[in-house]
């Protein structure tokens, strides 16, 4: 009995270590295309921003509150980046993949990386969230193509974008963004950090309900 017990304990330990080794990933080294930071660090909207606050938006394309945030405050956040008031980075998470049958979160995140290659990331993000389906329904590739076209992608670039979406070219980078979020201690979406500090519940609530709140929230959190 004692021997069987010891063997059982060792077996359990071995299985645990195997699961750990098999699932821990192989480092954050996937390439992410235009304006993608190394190590799953996300997609920068305005890489040449000067010495301004660094804002990182963590979102999952299927999360309903992310949709609400983008529809309410998205335009103002993008505007702040385009005017050079902030350096804006998106990190797209995909933990809601299981909510739909077709891995919608990571496919949408992949499409967002493709849209950065086409030079239309912020518009693409706003467009996709504009027509966000109900949680669990998921996105079809068609939705990404329409969003890219609305954002002004055409001709050869649209063909490249389409291939990039269909082939899921940035699947590795999408996984790296997910892992990077956990490393950053971000476990839910939407999360916004300003110079590394996450905005509080109350500030997020303002951004979710008031389309003009971003400037004051930003000023508060510096």
């Amino acid at each position: 009995m004692g021997l069987i017990g010891a063997v059982t304990a060792v077996l359990v330990a071995i299985v645990a270590v195997v699961v750990y080794l098999a699932s821990r990933g192989d480092g954050l080294d996937a390439a992410g295309g235009a304006n993608a930071l190394a190590e799953g660090g996300g997609l920068v909207v305005n890489p040449d921003a000067g010495n301004v606050p660094e804002v990182i938006v963590y979102e999952d394309f299927q999360c309903p509150f992310c949709g609400q945030l983008e529809q309410t405050s998205g335009p103002q956040i993008v505007e702040a980046a385009q005017e050079g008031d902030i350096k804006l980075t998106y990190i797209f998470m995909s933990f809601l993949d299981g909510a739909s049958g077709n891995q919608s979160s990571s496919r949408a995140a992949n499409a967002a990386v493709c849209s950065a290659d086409a030079g239309v990331l912020p518009d693409f993000v706003l467009e996709v969230f504009e027509d966000q389906p109900q949680e669990g329904v998921g996105y079809e590739d068609e939705a990404f193509l329409e969003a890219a076209e609305s954002a002004g992608v055409e001709g050869e670039q649209l063909e490249q974008f389409t291939t990039c979406v269909q082939e899921q070219e940035y699947q590795g980078y999408v996984q790296d963004m997910a892992e990077r979020s956990s490393q950053d201690g971000v476990t839910s979406t939407p999360t916004i950090t300003v110079d590394g500090e996450a905005l509080g519940q109350q500030q997020m609530q303002q951004l979710l309900s008031d389309p003009s709140a971003f400037d004051s929230v930003l000023a508060e959190s510096q």
């Binding site: 059982t8 645990a16 699961v19 750990y20 956990s182 476990t187 519940q201």
Partner: protein, 181 residues
């Protein structure tokens, strides 16, 4: 002597107090403790195994460990839970499994209590759905009470590991159980 015990002594076999009845009760408690702790661990471990990323995020949400350590815990804990849960349900190595199960519960209670004390708003992630929740939606007390109950179940099994309907009983053929027939 108290009057109650006098009355008990006077009656030859009052219902519910004879050695046979008492053993029936302790046997019953043992089986319930084993199956309750075992089933909860089995289910909790399984739900984490099917979403290992979620399991890691649940540990990260406690904000207690470096990421690499949180990842190690999130990936290995479900295997241990499933193994200990299965042993308890089968009734194999009940004492050791009960000890590990009870120890896990004590650690979980400490984790939830620390999240509560630090004012975090998270789900315990006990069943794979961890992470932040709305500030009013935490269920720390409920989670702690449940884990205390399960820790007590594990403790019972350490003290009285011999339960009916178990592989332990089958393998060792303890005279205690042969006499019950």
């Amino acid at each position: 002597m108290k009057p109650t015990s006098l009355r008990e002594a006077a009656a030859p076999t009052p219902p519910g107090t004879g050695p046979r009845a008492r053993r029936l009760i302790t046997d019953g408690v043992g089986v319930v403790a084993r199956l309750a702790l075992g089933a909860v661990l089995l289910v909790a471990g399984y739900l984490k195994l099917v979403d290992l990323d979620g399991s890691v995020r649940s540990v990260v949400a406690y904000d207690l460990f470096d990421y690499e350590i949180a990842k190690f815990i999130g990936l290995t804990l479900p295997v241990v839970e499933v193994a200990v849960g299965a042993l308890l349900v089968l009734g194999l190595f009940t004492r050791a499994a009960g000890l590990v199960g009870a120890s896990l519960m004590v650690v979980f209670i400490a984790g939830v209590a620390s999240a509560w004390a630090r004012g975090l708003s998270i789900d315990c992630g006990c069943f794979g759905t961890g992470g932040p929740v709305a500030p009013g939606a935490t269920r720390y007390l409920e989670e702690i009470v449940r884990d205390v109950g399960l820790a007590v179940a594990g403790g019972w099994l350490v003290l009285r590991p011999r339960t009916p309907l178990s592989l332990d009983a089958l393998l060792t053929r303890h005279p205690h159980h042969e006499r019950t027939d």
